[in-house]
């Protein structure tokens, strides 16, 4: 296997997904709308208590990312199912895991862009200090998003051939995401409260460990779950 050739194939998949999304914006508009709605509704539910809003902000932020991401992952394989493209895709010569890497790259760009929209909005709604903790917060977001996107892309591929995939994907994915969700919420909370290194550091290490285990594991197992 030539790594350069497989990287080019992964890049082709990412280019194809992002080009299709850029042209229609169907997915991004739906996901952005859902994300804004979740942030607003939680804000209304918690009321005008600034302290309560700040305390809950990290959890709300990650739940928003989680729910919106699920929509994105489903849509990512919907593209392949519309015209029977998945079979064609799987029958190209080369390593099928390039397809997984391409999908992960496209979904990563997509979810990070969505986070870039959600984060300032959350800062305004929940009165969060963004500038000072930003470097640490960006690290948490990137590490948490990598694990979330890798697992989400993996399970979306598994669910893609099932009729009830919209229901199946969260059922499969959410239990697996519990460690990354807890670590991401705790680390985000630590960054926002101005304690980036003590408690936040250990949660960050947990996020990094999660990524180091689950990204290669999903990559290796992808070949088997797309086999019909």
């Amino acid at each position: 296997m030539s790594w350069r050739r497989e990287a080019a194939r992964a890049a082709a998949v990412a280019w194809k997904d992002l080009t299709a999304e850029r042209r229609t914006r169907a997915n991004f508009n739906a996901v952005a709308f859902l994300a804004i709605l979740i942030l607003l509704l939680f804000g209304f539910a918690l009321g005008p208590d600034t302290e309560a809003l700040r305390a809950a902000a990290a959890g709300i932020l990650w739940l928003t990312i989680l729910f919106s991401g699920i929509l994105a992952f489903n849509r990512s394989y919907q593209l392949e199912l519309e015209d029977g493209a998945l079979e064609t895709l799987l029958l190209y010569p080369g390593d099928r895991r390039a397809l997984f890497l391409g999908k992960v790259a496209a979904n990563l760009v997509f979810v990070l862009l969505m986070e870039a929209l959600v984060l300032p909005l959350a800062a305004v709604l929940y009165d969060l200090p963004l500038l000072r903790p930003f470097p640490g917060l960006a690290g948490v977001l990137v590490l948490g998003t990598i694990g979330f996107v890798a697992l989400g892309t993996f399970y979306a591929a598994m669910a893609s051939r099932v009729r009830a995939r919209e229901v199946l994907l969260p059922l499969l994915l959410f239990p697996m995401l519990v460690p990354v969700l807890i670590a991401a919420v705790e680390a985000t909370g630590a960054m926002l409260s101005g304690d980036p290194l003590r408690e936040g550091g250990s949660w960050l290490r947990l996020l990094a460990a999660f990524d180091l285990i689950f990204v290669p594991a999903s990559w290796i197992a992808f070949e088997y779950i797309v086999e019909e």
């Binding site: 050739r5 080019a8 194939r9 890049a11 082709a12 998949v13 280019w15 194809k16 080009t19 299709a20 042209r23 229609t24 593209l79 519309e82 015209d83 029977g84 493209a85 998945l86 079979e87 064609t88 895709l89 799987l90 029958l91 190209y92 010569p93 080369g94 390593d95 086999e227 019909e228």
Partner: protein, 254 residues
């Protein structure tokens, strides 16, 4: 083009399957098919809906694993060497597998990159020209008719030039011009030594370039291939494309 196992003198057959069977749940779609296709040979598979034509093509393409039996494509085992098999095979399935939000040219550029080919603009233009979509190169495929999508899928085959073509109902949704173009492409690739298995509902258009016809029924080969017709050798060695007439060459041989 990827190298094939074996010496030039004893090149393996394009397809060699023995007792291939495939089950979906409790239903057997294939019940022990043995078949051999030589390089440069075009074999038509005919049969009613559900006779197993599509399943056989998908097994040979490695889209499905056989439940029983063995098979090789250019000497590569369907189970153990599936990735190598895919280097030599191009499947045109029922669904064209076209991306509606990409233009026709972008669809082909993507296909070229996925197949590890240089995404050369001239090669893409040539492939679109061969299938009659040159003027639609920069049009998004979302608005294409079923026939145009089929042509675009066929252009992927033209671009890749696989050594073994597996065409499932290649004439479906095509007008007369499209049918003639499929035959011309088949004839050209055949004369270059490429093999093809063409599943069809007995469409006589397929026969102009076909060497043998196999009839499938209930997942089995119902009719053995007939002896080569007198003009078959001449047809097989005739110059490609425009020289090959689009005509019927009799029904299913028994």
């Amino acid at each position: 083009m990827p190298e094939l196992p074996g010496r030039d003198a004893d090149r393996p057959p394009a397809v060699e399957v023995e007792g291939i069977a495939r089950r979906f749940g409790h239903r057997w779609a294939l019940r022990g098919i043995s078949l051999r296709v030589e390089p440069g040979e075009v074999v038509a598979l005919v049969g009613h809906n559900g006779s197993g034509k599509t399943t056989l093509l998908r097994v040979i393409a490695t889209a499905l694993r056989p439940t029983r039996g063995d098979g090789r494509v250019f000497g590569y085992d369907l189970r153990r060497d599936a990735a190598r098999v895919r280097e030599h095979v191009g499947l045109l399935g029922h669904a064209p597998g076209v991306y509606g939000d990409l233009t026709a040219a972008e669809n082909l550029r993507f296909a070229a990159r996925m197949a590890g080919l240089a995404a050369d603009d001239r090669a893409i233009a040539h492939a679109l020209e061969r299938v009659g979509l040159a003027r639609e190169a920069d049009v998004r495929a979302r608005g294409f008719s079923a026939g145009m999508r089929r042509r675009l899928a066929l252009a992927r085959i033209v671009l890749r030039r696989p050594r073994l073509l597996l065409l499932d109902e290649p004439y479906a949704s095509l007008d007369d011009d499209g049918v003639a173009r499929v035959d011309a492409i088949l004839a050209e690739l055949k004369s270059a030594g490429h093999a093809a298995l063409v599943a069809t509902h007995g469409d006589p258009h397929a026969r102009g370039v076909v060497d043998r016809v196999l009839s499938l029924a209930g997942g089995r080969i119902a009719a053995a291939p007939a002896a080569e017709p007198a003009d078959a050798h001449a047809r097989r060695t005739r110059a490609p494309a425009e020289a090959v007439p689009v005509r019927a060459a009799g029904g299913v041989h028994g």
